[in-house]
Symmetry: C2
Subunit: 248 residues, 2 copies
């Protein structure tokens, strides 16, 4: 992966204006990534939620059709042809619901998981490190002032030196972690965008395949029969009932 910008870790410890300026660019880029990926995350979350709702609503429809037999219709409730037709509908809608459930699971694993990880782990880690880095920088500045004052007083104690040493060491670790995290983000940012999109598309392809291979043919046969039956019913209704109504 050529052309990836990197913050020079080896210069992390030198607080030069060049490093500061470069850090500013990386921080700006990180903020832009954070904002853009957050919008994409929300759009994907909407897709995922809608897909789950679709699965649930499809399942509910199938469940209602299965309950048709248990309804207490005083008239024609014992119509076996109707009952068995609705059971068949319930069965095919159940299969559709299964396809939707598979799609939901795949979207969860292949789309939501990577983008959530990136948002909750990588981007959040940088935010945390940035805060620590800023606190640490402030501390460093205070320490420098303290040092200067001590130097001015020409009174340097061993304990102050140790204080400075421990604090410096901690601060350097923070800077290195922060720089590394910013560099890692540059490496990860493309993958973090492509991976969930890829997962999304592959889940959709599987869904279309599953739907067209397993369902379409058997549904079509069933629906052609039902379709003819419904059309016959509509025709019967228009021939025998409408004139009666008009006559009356």
């Amino acid at each position: 992966m050529p052309g990836i910008d990197k913050l020079p870790i080896e210069e992390a410890l030198e607080d030069s204006p060049q490093t500061r300026s470069l850090l500013g660019v990386f921080e700006e880029d990180t903020a832009a990534i954070s904002s853009y990926y957050h919008q994409l995350f929300q759009a994907m979350q909407r897709i995922y939620d809608a897909q789950n709702e679709l699965s649930a609503a499809t399942h509910l429809t199938s469940k209602l059709l299965k309950e048709y037999e248990k309804q207490r219709f005083p008239l024609g409730g014992d119509d076996e042809v109707m009952s068995s037709t609705l059971q068949q509908f319930a069965k095919v809608i159940d299969e559709l619901s299964s396809c939707h459930a598979v799609l939901s699971t795949q979207l969860a694993d292949a789309m939501m998981f990577p983008i959530t990880q990136f948002k909750e782990k990588d981007l959040k880690e940088i935010l945390t490190l940035k805060e620590v880095f800023q606190i640490s920088s402030d501390g460093e500045n205070q320490l420098s002032t303290k040092m200067r004052n001590f130097h001015l007083m020409l009174f340097v104690k061993g304990e102050v030196m140790e204080d400075v040493y421990t604090s410096r060491k901690k601060q350097h670790q923070t800077v290195m972690h922060y720089f590394l995290a910013l560099n890692t983000l540059q490496y990860k940012k493309k993958i973090a965008l492509l991976e969930p999109l890829l997962g999304y598309m592959q889940a959709q392809i599987s869904f279309f395949k599953l739907g067209s291979e397993n369902l379409t043919q058997q549904w079509e046969d069933f629906l052609t029969n039902i379709g003819t039956s419904v059309q016959n019913n509509v025709a019967y209704f228009h021939i025998t009932f409408i004139p009666h109504q008009v006559k009356a």
Copy 2:
């Protein structure tokens, strides 16, 4: 369509106990239909709403990807390979979004329209007629009492007779309309259930066909390339970056 129960219109005018009892059965059946179809309507409305939300969220995702180029990323924002890859993703997701939009439209026409018509027209008409019928029956009872009182007083005026005649005529029309509507419901109830289910299934089949015929193949070629590219990136990331991180 054999075995459909009918209220005898010719007996509508005779307010016999048998007719009253039969009417009670039809009203009970109508209430059961109303309750069951209302649940089914709500489930279908949920499917339709979720499908619309899915279309909108898919469209938004594609829109966001198209806007990638306009983002001001200070680092690597001029990466043309990434830009063109995301444009391709935007294009295929746009096509998916079109498929979803077609499905939404078909669900509106073939599923929501017939079941909404049945709920808003047929079932509501019966409710209205039932109210009118009850008011009319009450009126008829009051009129009978009035008549009886007049007879008792042995004082029958022509205007009262005309009053009775007009009212009776109106009431008979109401009863006939009500009986006809109840009979129509018996004829329509199966179609009203099968038609939206049929529309739903056919819309789904078209969706799967559209998806698998138009999208799957071209997507697969594109995604295989992207998939390899992402995997290469992941491999590159692990080889070149992780050791660096550990070293540091």
